[in-house]
């Protein structure tokens, strides 16, 4: 510190000179319109370039702030939009067929949050307990299987997406009816694995995979995907089958929650059977 002071003292004339010149230049720029214009509008000259770089850098540094402001504004505008008002009415389509008993009813819902990039992906939809949704119901989209309801609140439900490591769905190859289980491996949101198909089955690329209807959650014949490629697992009896999903999980919008009207009856029957064993 003492060295610093002695250094400054030794070169005091130079430092005073620098200080005075800085004062002069700032005075010049502040008080003389030509120099100010020259200083600010040099354009492609060094000074101007430096300043544009500087402003770009500060612009980047402030991007977070700008983003926050824009997001706030967007949120405000969005909250005034018609789509942000929660529609409490929900047309539950029930088939009023006198010839047969209704087995499944469908509750339309909108996806409000989804992800595809995690190992366990969830989907939030905008219908909940008040609309008759309960856990363990199946969710399908016009293009295929979507997931299974896990939790419900009054107005919202969270689903295990099909792209979830805990979800398995019983499936069958439509051409010959051979059954297996589909399970996601966490890699790509476009592909899923079909397991437990034995080597006796004859498979072809492009075979369509549908739900088998034995899970009593999913109805029969909901599309899942098509076989992209298959190999025989070397030590074993089963195929390794890669299935291209028909549903685009990145762009899920409208889905249907499937309510099995007879699930209670089936569950109690199964419980009784298991208890007997």
């Amino acid at each position: 510190m003492r060295n610093l002071f002695s250094f400054i003292y030794y070169y005091r004339a130079f430092f005073l000179f620098l200080l005075l010149e800085v004062i002069c230049v700032s005075l010049i720029i502040q008080n003389n319109s030509y120099q100010r214009a020259a200083f600010l509008n040099v354009g492609d000259e060094v000074v101007g370039r430096t300043f544009s770089v500087y402003s770009e850098v500060t612009g980047y540094l402030n991007l977070g702030e700008y983003n926050k402001e824009l997001a706030m504004e967007n949120a405000m505008l969005r909250s005034n939009q018609a789509t942000s008002f929660y529609t409490d009415t929900s047309a539950v389509s029930v088939k009023k067929d006198t010839a047969g008993r209704q087995f499944y009813s469908y509750i339309p819902a909108e996806v409000i949050q989804t992800s595809t990039n995690k190992m366990n992906n969830y989907i939030i939809i905008n219908k909940g307990r008040d609309h008759g949704i309960a856990p363990r119901m199946a969710v399908i989209s016009p293009t295929g299987v979507v997931g299974i309801v896990k939790h419900v609140s009054a107005h919202f439900s969270s689903l295990y997406s099909l792209l979830h490591s805990q979800v398995t769905v019983s499936a069958r190859v439509r051409r010959d009816g051979s059954r297996g289980t589909i399970k996601w491996d966490g890699e790509s949101p476009e592909f899923i694995n079909l397991e437990e198909i034995t080597r006796q089955e004859q498979l072809h690329n492009g075979d369509t995979i549908f739900t088998s209807g034995v899970s009593r959650i999913f109805p029969d014949d909901i599309p899942i995907g098509t076989i992209e490629r298959f190999t025989l697992k070397e030590p074993g009896n089963f195929y390794d089958i890669r299935v291209r999903l028909t549903a685009n999980f990145r762009r899920l919008d409208y889905v249907y929650v499937v309510n099995n009207l007879m699930s209670g009856e089936m569950d109690s029957l199964i419980n009784k059977t298991e208890n007997v064993q």
């Binding site: 004339a13 000179f17 002069c24 230049v25 008080n31 003389n32």
Partner: protein, 174 residues
Amino acid sequence: MFSSIIGYLLRFILLAFAQVMILNNVHLHGLFNPYIYPLFILLLPFEMSALLVLIVGFLSGLAIDFYSNSLGLHAAATTFMAFVRPQMISLLKPAAGYQPEDRPTISSMGFLWFVVYASVLIFMHHCVFFMMETFSFHQALFVISKMAVSTVVSIVIIIALQYLFYKRKRISLT
């Protein structure tokens, strides 16, 4: 001491007056603007400390600026000039060194010494001044020629002023 301060102040007022009222209105095709008020800084005594010269230089430039409506321009030039002055003085030191009664004038130090001393410092002053005035590298050739011509004219006037006032003074003193 006090009277010498008054004398320097009076000299500055006279030079500033001549500069602002007369020479600032001389623009020959925009080619040169002579500046003679730096003579005030040239004539400050040798033994004045570098810091004080800097401050005096800055203030005198600022005073000219107030009247020329160019705040900071002259101050930047005079401050630079005042900063270079001590180096210039030590560079031009005669073999015997400076005597206590020496003054940086033609009558005291001789014509050649004064011309070199004044030329370098006035040129420095004009360089800084015209660069600050243009404030860009456009028309660099024109600015440089303006610097050179203005410097020559300023030095001629300054030397003439020296002969006008100080030669006679020396005669009257001796």
